[in-house]
């Protein structure tokens, strides 16, 4: 270790501020007592309650299903949309479409939620799983478009020409060239939409009916009724899962990179012989 800079201190401070509340919350999930006032001893008690709380578990499942389904559908629609915007010839139309997309991105969730509620009640659409799914799909599409479009724009302008030149039909060009080339963008869009759907509160709050709920709405309503350490236990589990995801993602990236480096080295060794 060389010198300690003030910037290091600042970094530590920032991370403490960011992570302290979560650590605090995790710590009390192991509390034998019922409140976060003081720690009265270690216990798995709240985890037990959580696992036997069938309502909570079904809500977790609902949330995951909604997130998976909505992000999947939004990815398909959004990718097609991005392709559509890309292939629009007229600059004015293109910019118009992009702006409409961006307006949806920046408008407050509350407004989107309220407008969905008005929309659904106007149509006489019953609130519940369907309405939540539809609204999640709707707010995820612009996210996917925004993640995919730059990838398409990055493609060499003549790459599509090259595919046609080599005899590919429009369909083959799409499936063999364009889609594979933008796959990273599509995956990024999917994961982004997935996380947005998972932790959405405002929009969901407006369009859930009586019978249906997602995690964020449920936790919100429970938190209003007072502290419940079962929520801490649930949050701890979710935190660990997301931590594992991040680590897994990192390791996967490292693995791919090292494999690629090895291949280059092997090829170079062969050439240098």
């Amino acid at each position: 270790m060389k010198k300690w800079h003030i910037s290091n201190l600042y970094l530590i401070f920032v991370f403490l501020v960011l992570y302290l509340p979560i650590i605090y919350l995790i710590f009390y999930s192991f509390n034998a007592g019922d409140t976060m006032d003081h720690f009265s001893g270690f216990s798995w008690r709240h985890y037990g309650t959580l696992l036997s709380d069938s309502r909570m578990i079904s809500i977790v499942l609902n949330t995951l299903i909604i997130a998976l389904l909505s992000s999947l559908i939004a990815t398909i629609v959004g990718t097609l949309g991005a392709l559509g915007i890309y292939s629009t010839k007229k600059a004015a139309v293109k910019n118009g479409l992009l702006s409409l997309n961006n307006v949806l991105m920046v408008s407050p969730d509350v407004i989107i939620g309220a407008s969905f509620l008005i929309f659904f009640t106007f149509l006489g659409f019953s609130l519940g799983f369907g309405s939540v799914l539809l609204s999640h799909i709707a707010f995820s599409i612009p996210i996917v478009v925004l993640m995919v479009l730059p990838k398409i724009n990055e493609l060499p302008a003549t790459m599509v020409d090259a595919a046609y030149d080599l005899g590919a039909t429009t369909w083959q060009t799409l499936t063999k060239v364009i889609l594979p080339a933008i796959t990273p963008g599509i995956f990024a869009g999917f994961f982004m939409a997935f996380t947005y759907s998972l932790d959405d509160f405002a929009v969901t709050f407006f369009v859930t009916g009586n019978g249906f709920s997602t995690l964020s709405v449920e936790i919100y309503s429970r938190a209003r009724q007072g502290v419940d350490l079962e929520v801490n236990a649930l949050s701890t589990l979710m935190f660990i899962v997301s931590l594992l995801l991040v680590v897994g993602y990192y390791l996967l990236g490292r693995y791919n990179q090292s494999r690629r480096m090895q291949r280059v080295k092997a090829a170079e060794a062969k050439i240098n012989q």
């Binding site: 060499p156 595919a163 030149d165 090829a267």
Partner: protein, 360 residues
Amino acid sequence: MANSVIEFRQVNKSFDETKVLDEIDFEIEAGKFYTLLGPSGCGKTTILRLIAGFADATSGDILFEGQKINELPANERQVNTVFQDYALFPHLNVFENVAFGLEIRKISKTEIKTAVNEALKLVHLSDYGNREISELSGGQQQRVAIARAIVNEPKVLLLDEPLSALDHKLRKEMQGELRDLQRRLGITFIFVTHDQEEALAMSDQIFVMNAGKILQSGSPVDIYDEPINHFVADFIGESNIVPGKMQRDYVVNFDGQDFSCVDAGMKPNEAVEVVIRPEDLDIVAVDTGQVNVTVDTQLFRGVDYQISAHDKMNNEWKINSIHKTSVGQIVGLAFEPEDIHIMRYHETEDDFDARLETYE
């Protein structure tokens, strides 16, 4: 022409209001090496895009083996392109890129393997099949692009400045190999470049272009020896261009004297431009040559000296000579009537060809 593969008839191309190609007319014969030569932005790529089918002509006909193909989609045309920006598929490795066209045509795996390996060998990338495109240098990517096109054995191969990213040595090597390849495969090559030396070295036939027009077409020797106008003379190689006046057939006046020449068919006393190539000038003792000039600069280039001088009318003369002079010295320049080439102002290629017919 019986074996014409591609023909343009009065083809025009405009983007919005700007005219990019102006009345392009040419015919391409099977099995030859053609070059489109011209400065950047003159419309070379646009011509290739029209042949390949990526763009539509604003007016005029494009024919392939006598059939009009204006409406034929790009994927049904029997031409392949080596793109200026390579346009390789980033998600496929080198082998898969080269195999793409064959896979589309549903050729058997073993045949594809043989063909691709052979194509990679042709471009000196035999051991690179497993490499990712992002792991290659610009020159290597360019060679993959060449392999990806030739592996399909098209009737016509379009090459858009395919050697521009290579270093000098590799470039010379690839020029020879492309030329060999063309002879061996018997495929018609349409090669685009802005490098006149490359065009002269490789082509059977050159089209010199400027600002959306074909100014002159012919063999490298024809174009070098008998450029049609100032632009072509200047663009193809080094040249001395001085203003003159045609006294009568076979006699031209410049630098205040009459010279005999081998050109004819102009009006008497017509103002013309006189071209003499630097390597056709010999330096001799003062007053023993046709023109006396004063040496301004002298540059040693290894093989010879590049000398710049001026005559008494202040015309500039470039001379390539193996003999040394000194700056400020007055020397004579000797040349033969055959070394003089006369250019008329604003002569069209048809008139030029017709005039040459009358006395050659």
